[in-house]
């Protein structure tokens, strides 16, 4: 992106971006100049809301962080060596004497502590993304360039240790140095002429790369949710229907290690909650035999659901998998070694990312593996991630049995042995809560989405009530499947956000949650900030059933009316 293109993005948003401004802070010790422009443009290109950027004063990195306005939605911090000791800055002549080095290292470490503390304080209020020093250290050290100086290594160790500590702090995200290296090669980062003239040390290319990564961390794209893979010459090397389960391979000996690495990657992705499905033109019995006979497969059979093995068009198999998962095509990646099958699925699902498995090109395969890590990447792995596949499989069994139970619904629900666990309030570190609020469409009170900073502020309001609901029954756990947020005013609960995963429908969990709140908080009246959206029909149906009349806007539900219309509940409700 050129500077002109960045300015065009910023200026065109002035006429088109709508809604509440997204307030972002940028703190650096140098004059932000083009970094500010690229950062503003990178944020704006990821948002439909207008971006308002707040920058501090030249020369005072820590002060700039400490003076971040409290109402920011996010902050970005760009650190350079000179921010931690001015003797490492090119605009300062503080001396590079060998005798200075012990003091330089000690000062650097103390200043890093102070900086780390300022970042922690800011991150308690809003998300903060950080770039640690990316320029080459100045020629301040006495060994030849080929030899690492002990002092320089001490500075780098100090930076690495601080980055590792901060990476574990909720709300802090650290820009990956290796990814920055991919986008901005080290020798091309520093512009000494610009630094001496204007105080801006980065080349435009490096400013753009750093700004882009910061924006990715601050406004991340939602991760993809599922991957559908082919088997022959993709998950393993060879055509299993021709050479049999013992003939397929994924190892160095058979020059098919790429397939082993792919299996290893899928295994890891499944454990972070990515749904894995198979679409293969094959004999189903042979495929079942392969998993039975080859216990050296790195991807266990139980991590894949569903397995669509047939001779029909792949697009039809993919459609069935999407229905089972109940997710959109745009949340899924399809991987296959056949260009024809990739094209056929891509035509049927234009929004799906359909990728050719490059079985004969290790470099392309490695690029694909990094790409898959990126599109499925998440900040942290929650307990719910590990049970997602089990939950979908259980939900499918539930649907089949619920449908066959017909009018004996009460009897069916009674036999579920269901337990609802309500956490009131959930810990701030539980990222699943806000994720659920922002991705649920059908049972959603009003469709309003929240950014992390606003959600944190809502939790801190006096009278705030937030409940996270987890569920399990004889079909298995569903994990955290509902979130309700409101403000309690006396015996009235004003509910502003309420979502429930569609996997949890038809179990009367929504009824159980309201009854729990009535009993636990002595609620006599609910005031629901309901707004009809294009997709929240299930919420409308539920409220209409509770009210005994159609609803189209915010409604109030008295305890007596709820009790009169609430069907029998059979779940055991516990708190955590």
């Amino acid at each position: 992106m050129s500077l002109a293109q960045a300015l065009e993005i910023i200026q065109s948003a002035r006429g088109t971006a709508t809604g509440e401004p997204f307030d972002a802070g940028l703190a650096c010790g140098f004059t932000p100049l083009h970094l500010q422009t690229f950062f503003h443009a990178a944020l704006q290109s990821r948002l439909t809301r207008p971006v308002r950027l707040h920058c501090g004063i030249f020369g005072d990195l820590i002060g700039n962080i400490e003076k971040f306005p409290a109402e920011l939605h996010a902050g970005a911090v760009v650190i350079e060596w000179g921010d931690l000791d001015s003797r490492l800055a090119f605009r300062h002549l503080g001396g590079w004497r060998p005798a200075h080095m012990p003091d330089l290292v000690a000062t650097f470490a103390r200043r890093m502590e102070h900086l780390e503390s300022a970042i922690r304080v800011a991150a308690a209020r809003f998300p903060v993304a950080v770039v640690f020093p990316a320029l080459r250290l100045p020629p301040a050290f006495f060994p030849v360039n080929a030899r690492a100086s002990a002092a320089a290594l001490a500075l780098e160790a100090c930076v690495a240790a601080a980055a590792a500590r901060l990476a574990d702090v909720p709300g802090v995200s650290i820009v990956n140095r290796q990814e920055l290296e991919q986008r901005s090669a080290a020798p091309e980062r520093h512009d000494l002429k610009a630094e001496l003239f204007s105080g801006f040390p980065f080349t435009r290319a490096h400013a753009e790369a750093a700004a882009g990564l910061l924006a990715e961390l601050i406004v991340p794209r939602p991760p993809k949710k599922g991957l559908i893979t082919d088997l022959d010459d993709t998950l393993w090397s060879g055509i299993v229907g021709e050479i049999g389960p013992r003939g397929v391979s994924w190892d160095l000996e058979h020059h098919s290690q790429l397939h082993g690495l792919y299996q290893q990657l899928l295994d890891s992705l499944s454990l972070q909650g990515v749904l894995l499905g198979v679409s293969s033109k094959n004999d189903a019995a042979v495929v079942q035999d392969t998993w039975r006979e080859r216990d050296d497969l790195l991807l266990p059979r139980e991590r894949i659901y569903p397995l669509e093995v047939n001779w029909g068009p792949k697009s039809e198999s993919v459609a069935r998998i999407l229905r089972t998962w109940n997710i959109g095509a745009d949340a899924v990646v399809f991987v296959d070694d056949s260009p024809l099958d990739v094209a056929e699925v891509q035509q049927a699902f234009p929004s799906m990312e359909c990728v050719l498995f490059p079985k004969d090109d290790p470099a392309a395969a490695l690029a694909l593996f990094y790409r898959l890590r990126d599109v499925f990447g998440k900040d942290r792995i929650e307990a719910d991630d590990a049970i997602r596949m089990e939950s979908i499989r259980g939900a499918q069994e539930f649907r089949e049995q619920a449908e066959s139970s017909g009018e004996r619904q009460d009897e069916f629900l009674k036999g579920l042995d269901a337990t609802i666990t309500i956490t009131l309030p959930p810990p701030a570190s539980d990222t699943r809560v806000l994720e659920l609020v922002n991705k649920t469409n059908q049972f959603n009170l009003n469709g309003i989405r929240y950014d992390e900073a606003l959600w944190q502020r809502m939790q801190a309001q006096p009278g705030a009530v937030t409940a996270a609901v987890a569920y399990r029954d004889k079909f298995g756990p569903l994990g955290t499947i509902a979130v309700l947020h409101g403000l309690q005013m006396g015996h009235c609960l004003k509910v502003t956000a309420w979502v429930m995963s569609c996997r949890a429908f038809s179990r009367r969990i929504e009824h159980a949650l309201l009854r729990f709140l009535i009993e636990q908080l002595q609620i006599e009246r609910f005031s629901f900030a309901f707004e009809k959206t294009a997709k929240n029909g299930p919420t409308q149906t539920f409220l209409a059933a509770m009210m005994g009349e159609d609803v189209a806007r915010p409604v109030e539900l008295d305890r007596a009316v709820f009790e009169a219309n609430c069907p029998p509940l059979f779940q055991k409700v516990v708190t955590s």
Binding site: L3, A4, L7, Q11, R14, L33, H34
Partner: protein, 77 residues
């Protein structure tokens, strides 16, 4: 209006979005409130990108009007 003029106008309008198109040919640093040191560097960087030239930083104090910049770019491009 020649090609250099049109491309230079674009650099000015990106740097000073509030400046009317008709005001650009007579633009002078002393009469434009937002033409500070940051804007000056932004403008020079845009000109470097647009004309694929490297502006001599020592010349920057002289580049204080559209006319002066046009003359400089005409000589350098």
């Amino acid at each position: 209006m020649n090609d250099i003029d049109a491309r230079l106008r674009r650099c000015f309008s990106l740097t000073f979005p509030d400046l009317a198109a008709s005001e650009i040919p007579s633009a002078e640093q002393s009469r434009i409130q937002g033409w500070d040191s940051v804007a000056a560097i932004t403008l020079v960087t845009l000109i470097e990108e647009e004309f694929a030239i490297s502006v001599d930083l020592d010349k920057m104090p002289e580049l204080t009007s559209f006319v002066a910049i046009r003359e400089y770019v005409s000589g350098a491009a």
